[in-house]
């Protein structure tokens, strides 16, 4: 029993964080402006570092690490508000590894590892909620070919993706499935969103009987559920990172800002708020690291574990971002100081991959079923 990382994992995190500090330079005020959505340089720097090869097994030319090894890395990416295309590509790598056919793996893994393949995740729909089984985008047979119809919203960096990983419902069985749709002709219609976080370059994808190559279908209900769980866990990791940065900025400010003749952090009204934020962040850390362990090791209660992490960390990060702005006072509300970048990204992640209410309902439904099973046995 050891709920801690190995020394090598911490060392890897530290060197990755140093690399990120260079690849993602901070502004003069120490805070990030991620409104520049052209992230080619950052992407290439991370590819050169080998980030995209980490999850790919050695027999496909990768490093063969697991999501436990990556959890601290995802947290660091969250701290610097790294473009979501980076983590989306990591999530897609996991799905391809577990559900794609051999041919697809052989052709994609070298390109992913080299950083030549950006994959954007397209799950959300305007009228489908979060449950993959409730999605309305449909995959149907027309004669001897498959085609896809429906709309996906809030796809990060949709226009710059090489592939979209799309969740759809199979018309014949009504089962959800996952598709890897290449960004080439014939392509879906693409519309840019106006969203709270412009640095995500969100787009809407409109599929109108788009022909689909059956070889790119990652089949089965389990693929859709796994995509949901892995995405939610990675979102928790990113939320944890950005909450940690928001908290640290608030604490630093509370140590320095003097009012009434002493640093405001000396006053209980501020100190106790910071303490509550720290407890919430540390607790999110416990929940999120455990979820990463669960998606890497697939225990029977994986989904429960993921729902605990995402519901708790989502709300925690939201409240830490809010509190951080409050502790910074009037300065906190300025565009220039940049705290809003964390808040903006937080809102995107909080309402992606299941919000707190969705995950709690999943959690309580599962708990009631487990208690009933226990009572039936007794």
């Amino acid at each position: 029993m050891n709920f801690d990382f190995e020394q090598e994992q911490y060392a890897f995190r530290d060197s990755f964080a140093r690399y990120l500090a260079q690849a993602f330079p901070r502004g003069n005020d120490g805070r990030l402006d991620r409104s520049d959505v052209n992230f080619d340089e950052e992407w290439n720097a991370l590819a050169e570092l080998g980030l995209f090869a980490l999850l790919i097994p050695e027999n496909y030319g990768g490093i063969g690490l697991s999501f436990v090894d990556l959890s601290l890395i995802v947290e660091e990416l969250g701290k610097v508000l790294a473009p979501l295309a980076i983590t989306d590509t990591l999530v897609a790598t996991d799905l391809i590894l577990r559900f794609a056919n051999e041919e697809l793996k052989q052709s994609l893994f070298p390109r992913i590892a080299a950083g030549e393949c950006r994959i954007a995740i397209a799950i959300l729909e305007a009228e489908a909620g979060y449950d993959p089984a409730a999605c309305r985008t449909v995959l149907e047979s027309e004669g001897n070919r498959l085609c896809l119809s429906g709309r996906k919203i809030l796809v990060p960096h949709a226009a710059r993706a090489d592939y979209w990983l799309v969740v759809a419902r199979k018309a014949d069985t009504d089962e959800p499935t996952v598709l890897l749709i290449p960004h080439n002709a014939p392509a879906p219609d693409l519309r840019s969103h106006e969203s709270i976080d412009p640095s995500c370059a969100h787009g809407e994808l409109i599929f109108d009987r788009l022909p689909v190559d059956p070889g790119t279908v990652l089949d089965g209900h389990e693929a859709a559920v796994r995509l949901f769980d892995v995405s939610a866990t990675v979102a928790s990791g990113l939320l944890l990172g950005l909450a940690d940065t928001s908290l640290n900025l608030a604490v630093d400010y509370a140590r320095q800002r003097v009012q009434f003749g002493q640093p405001i952090g000396a006053f209980q009204a501020i100190k106790h708020r910071c303490a509550d934020m720290a407890v919430a962040a540390e607790s999110s850390r416990s929940a999120t690291y455990y979820a990463f362990w669960a998606i890497a090791n697939d225990p029977p209660d994986r989904s429960r574990t993921v729902s605990i992490a995402k519901s708790f960390t989502g709300e925690t990060a939201g409240s830490i971002c809010n509190e951080s702005i409050q502790i910074h006072g009037g300065m906190g509300f300025t565009w220039e100081l940049g705290l809003h970048h964390y808040l903006r990204r937080c809102k995107v992640l909080e309402y992606s991959h299941g919000d707190a209410a969705f995950h709690r309902e999943r959690l309580v439904t599962e708990a009631i079923a487990a208690i009933e099973r226990q009572n039936d046995m007794a």
């Binding site: 709920f3 100190k271 407890v279 709690r360 309580v364 208690i371």
Partner: protein, 399 residues
């Protein structure tokens, strides 16, 4: 990161489970419960302490030379989990084992260890804690109970309050002022006081739950031999901090989350059988959200404990993270019992003794008891100050 247990740890768990099955009465926790009358319950709990000792399960982490088992932190966590899971009684000598004993192991001299530790483990001597006073609560360092050293003995005068189990105790760990002129943290000493000494008066205090676990304790010219001083004269504050770190530690929270979880499961079962406004009460979406929140919180208490234990195992000192653990579990538990009352709805006000009271009033009793969680062992406000100053490096307030 590894959540599996070694074969030795699994064997430890199996042995403990088997022992608990035999040691607890048939139907325990389902049809057979602790005595309801307080004095009887205290004696029942003391018998349990002695049973644990006889079975070789007392003082798990203590060195074998003092009658302990020399168990690892993981085995302690397993012990906390399994005894909670079996709904085993709380012992009566909790303060003896967790606080007095642990503090003596760290700061006691050899003679003190030899004299007191075996008696604590065997349940022969029960201990209470004389730290708080009417004017020294959160500001514990301002204790005023005086101890004057005279002819090889301390003469103690003063009053302690919230002394849990004083009425059942043979011994008391007490913080007393031995130098009134020194700065307040530097004039305190840590004494072991024989509760049968002349001059001690105990007056029970009735709690909001209706129980009288704690007391006011008065000391009037109580003589304490000088060899009952732990550590050096005026060095009591540092020693008290050790005591408090163990009071708030992950071993304690590990057992609590299981007991809270059992009550939450019980609540879910009760709700499944209950109609409310024409439909099963368990289908109320607002309630489901709150129940889920508590399910998540309790799992996070467990995970926080496992991370803290792992840090300790990997060599980190016991630090302010125990404050985080305590702050989180205490508020999580209060939220849980608020939700429980909301779930009981119109039945909520019924308490034990009324034939319609859900679970014979267990939920509402736990709710009342839970109001103490954020006050004892250092109030939430004190924990937040500790976290703010020691973990986040925020400055102390200048007055």
């Amino acid at each position: 990161m590894d959540f599996s247990y070694s074969p030795e740890e699994c064997r430890f768990r199996d042995d403990l489970r088997a022992w608990l099955r035999d040691a607890l009465p048939e139907g325990w926790g389902r049809t057979v419960f602790e005595p309801e009358e307080e004095e009887e319950r205290a004696q029942f709990r003391l018998q349990w302490d002695r049973k644990l000792f006889a079975g070789g399960w007392a003082g798990l982490d203590w060195p074998t030379q003092y009658g302990g088992r020399g168990a690892s932190l993981i085995e302690q966590a397993i012990f906390a989990e399994e005894t909670a899971r079996a709904r085993a009684p709380m012992g009566l000598n909790i303060i003896g084992r967790n606080l007095a004993g642990t503090t003596l192991l760290h700061h006691g001299n050899e003679a003190q260890k030899q004299r007191y530790l075996p008696q604590i483990l065997s349940g022969k001597e029960v201990w209470c804690q004389g730290f708080s006073e009417p004017n020294a609560g959160s500001d514990l360092a301002s204790v005023r109970a005086r101890a004057v050293l005279k002819d090889g003995r301390f003469i103690v005068n003063g009053q302690k309050i919230w002394t849990s189990f004083a009425q059942y105790s043979q011994w008391c760990i007490a913080l007393v002022r031995t130098d009134p002129d020194a700065p307040k943290h530097k004039g305190i000493s840590f004494l072991l006081i024989d509760m049968s000494s002349p001059g001690i008066t105990i007056r029970p205090l009735k709690q909001i739950s209706g129980e009288s676990e704690f007391n006011e304790t008065f000391f009037e010219n109580v003589e304490v031999p000088v060899e009952n001083l732990v550590g050096g004269l005026n060095e009591g504050w540092k020693i008290a901090m050790t005591t408090l770190a163990y009071e708030r530690g992950p071993e304690d929270a590990m057992a609590r989350q299981i007991r809270f979880g059992q009550e939450l499961d019980g609540l879910i079962v009760w709700l499944s059988r209950q109609m409310r406004d024409g439909r099963p009460a368990i289908e109320n979406p607002g309630l489901r959200q709150k129940i889920a929140r508590s399910l998540a919180d309790l799992e996070i208490v467990r995970l926080n404990c496992l991370r803290s234990l792992s840090r300790l195992l990997n060599g980190a000192p016991r630090g302010a993270d125990t404050s985080m653990i305590k702050l989180f579990w205490s508020h999580a538990a209060q939220n849980l019992y608020e939700t429980a009352l909301e779930a009981l709805g119109p039945m909520a006000p019924l308490v034990a003794g009324d034939r319609l009271a859900p679970a014979n009033g267990a939920f509402i009793l736990s709710y009342l008891q839970s109001r103490a969680f954020t006050i004892y062992s250092g109030s939430s406000e004190i924990q937040r100050t500790i976290i703010g100053e020691r973990m986040l490096g925020l400055p102390k307030q200048r007055i």
